[in-house]
Amino acid sequence: MSLCTNYGDSNRRSSLLRAVGLVKIFHHGLFRSRKIYAVNNVDLTLLHGERVCLVGESGSGKTTLAKLLLLILKPDKGKVYYKDIELTSLSKEKLRRVRWKLQYIPQHPENALDHRWKLYDSIVEPLRILKLTTSNEEKRYVYDLIGMVKLKPEILSRRPREVSGGELQRAIIARALAVKPELLIADEPTSMLDPSTQAEIIHILLKLQCRNKFTLLFITHDIELARHVCDRILIMYSGQIVEEGSIKDVLNEPLHPYTKSLISVLKHGSLIHVYDHVEPGNNRGCKYKHICPYKLSLCLQYEPPLIRVPNNRKVRCWLYAHEIKK
Amino acid sequence: MPGDPIIYLLGEDVFAYGPEVIEEFREKFGLNRPLHEQFMIYLWNLLHGDLGYSFSYGAPISSLIMDHLPRTLMITLPAMIIASIIGCFLGAWCSWRLWENRKRTTSLLMLIFYSTPPYWTGMIFLLVFALHLRIIPPAPPIDANPLLQAIYILLLIATLLIYLIPFNAIIMKSLVTKFSEEAFVLTAVSKGLRNSRFIARHLIKPALPSYVTLLAIEFAFAFSGSLFVEVIYSWPGMGLLMWNAVNARDYPLIQSVFTLTALVVIVANAIADFMIIYLDPRIKGE
């Protein structure tokens, strides 16, 4: 349930971050001979102020994609555009000037802050580095931030090991928001926490997104959670986006077979079919072919492109080949 | 120049010879070239098997080494072998969690012995056994009966052992501690299993590959120890050779002994590195 409805005027919004053809390969095995396509040709657009969910199981490449978008990792192929600037071709110096506007909340909060530093110092650090406040305003600014994430000021003098997981995660959110970012990527920010804390953190995130109007990319494996968080959803499988659309449409009418199986878990509480996560051996054909109950002979040979479907949706599946406009 | 090898070569009355003679000798031994050049010449000769000439002993170095090396190995190798075995068991025993008190005392003892300089213990032994108890003579018994010789050698080995065993024990202990922290040990212990067979199988065996390869490092350690021991007992091995060379500032000899020792240790380490790749199943699996 969105706290502020702003999906309506999406057509008037400009793109904040645009990724084209991103590829990231990891090498494993003896002499680095095995190649794994963690991110396999992904196009992605994030508009100003929107809330997008990236949903996929573990190993689908969600975190790698997030790191590519923020240029924490370097893509092997592809480009990333921030507004109109091509980030992937910028020099280190120029990149430095814009990167801080794109913030990241990691999945594991333990090492996101220096263990020896007090929370106050960690939160204030980006402000001092980027010279965003004067030393007089600093303290009050931090107190405000803390208030926004519902933490008490006493916690500021503690160190990461001395606070609970939920408190640590909130401190990290506070630090991320300190610089007033334009994009916040939250990578499974609550999977390490208990359910009540989860709800609290999500509530805080959404409220802040509403108030400060930054773009939120929320990464999760839990499609049920996505329903409460975002307006637009992207389904990721084996390094590719397999479906894209508004949350209502996708949940009510899933198009891709993988999405269907995810939804079925929600509805029936169990999987229609159980499968092992197998890496596709050869690169031919659709990545989902070895599990898909609807596969055609076409699917074995050729990889389906991302097909545009009415209602601003996209799906990567040959079943919708008839929608391809010449 | 103090420490000038020429003095040792020609004797104290070197100044009686004219300066031309001295120059001639310098020329012959290449002592008038800069130090690094001398070293290059030395390496070159080394590759040809010519280790040079020791002027303090007045003999070719290769023959000196042939003489002295076996005597060093005679005491060092047995000591190393015994120390590895004893150290292995002591170390494993030390880290067995159940017997906290014994573990602490033994560890403490090991540390104490590790802190005592080997030459000091050697001197004490000499004092006690040679002077007070008169079991052995203060100098190596070259022509005496074999029994006496054997006892003498045993004493040398014992001195070395006091130096080496703590080293081995501490190594083994830290290796075994890593394993004794594993979950399966804790479950076995809670079941009441505490016999020595269990210790041997589950703690010593996995630690053995790393232990064996770490013995290579022991070479360097053992050579240092034997150097001190030989000096004290005047045992004519490589250590004593080095000692005399140092005192006489016999640079060629010093270089040769050092290079040889370094080579042995480096080779031992190389073998150890290969063995660890071969033996350690974790690395093999990668």
């Binding site: 000037r97 090492n111 802050l113 580095i129 | 403490l108």
Partner: protein, 276 residues
């Protein structure tokens, strides 16, 4: 922080030795001693620990020897730790790069080469003096510290907060000085404490072989004289047992502190062999 008994014992020993070293002249004046009395006199009422070959009081020599041995120990350990820190931080922070390869190679080479023979060769070439000995020890013992620090730094480097800071565009120097170094200080202190006894033992070894500064009397040098000037042969145990005992006890003291400190810091991490 609860201090375990072992560490306490170590601290006691080290504290006593340091006091003795610092207050050497005071202590010496309190004790009856006569200079140039008969040589090789056993302990008696005039000389608590007897005299050496020159007739000097052994007790006084030991007290002054404490100064030298401790000084060399501290100074050499300081150099070891400073070099080890710099190299370890550089190699660990630029983990996987050329700098790391080169530095690690140098570290490994030094770890393999037997240190005592190398030290002997070096000391012979540079005439033995106080500073040369300190330098030689410092230049040969840093590898094990560097290795430990490198591992820890590489671990820190891979943590989230470092990539966060880099995304803000801060310089490597900032990260190293304000985040990396503060996080390795504890290990550094433990390594320093363990480096001191190694240095003391090593210096004693070199002195025993006659390679230390003859102008400065250390415990090791006393042992050397005991051997070469007939003390041992005459059965004059007081010329070598006390200095050796002092070496052993001092080294032990530091090791007790150091080892229990390392255990505390790294949980029960394995004390890697090459660091012994």
């Amino acid at each position: 922080m609860k201090i375990p008994t072992i560490m306490l014992a170590g601290i006691l020993i080290v504290a006593s030795m340091t006091t003795i070293a610092l207050l050497a002249p005071l202590i010496a004046s309190l004790v009856p001693h006569e200079r140039s009395s008969e040589p090789f006199a056993p302990p008696n009422s005039r000389n608590i620990l007897g005299t050496n070959d020159l007739g000097d009081d052994v007790f006084v020599e030991i007290i002054y020897g404490a100064r030298l041995s401790m000084a060399i120990g501290f100074l050499a350990a300081l150099i070891v730790v400073l070099i080890g820190l710099s190299i370890g931080v550089l190699a660990g922070y630029y983990h996987g790069s050329l700098i790391d390869e080169v530095l690690s190679m140098i570290t490994d080479i030094l770890l393999v080469i037997p240190v005592l023979p190398l030290a002997i060769v070096l000391t012979v070439y540079l005439e033995p003096s106080f500073w040369n000995v300190v330098l030689v020890i410092g230049l040969l013992w840093w590898p094990s510290t560097a290795r430990v620090i490198r591992a820890r730094v590489a671990q820190l480097r891979s943590m989230e907060f470092v990539s966060y800071l880099k995304s803000l565009g801060v310089s490597d120097l900032y990260i190293i000085l304000r985040h990396i170094v503060p996080n390795v200080i504890e290990i550094l202190i433990a390594r320093f404490i363990l480096a001191v006894p190694k240095a003391i033992l090593f210096e004693a070894g070199l002195a025993f072989l006659g390679l230390s500064d003859p102008n400065h009397l250390s415990w090791g040098l006393m042992l050397h004289y005991a051997l070469t000037r007939g003390g041992l042969l005459r059965g004059a145990w007081w010329t070598f047992i006390p200095p050796g005992l002092c070496i052993a006890i001092t080294a032990l003291g530091f090791m007790l502190i150091g080892m229990s400190l390392e255990e505390k810091i790294s949980g029960i991490k394995v004390i890697k062999v090459r660091e012994l």
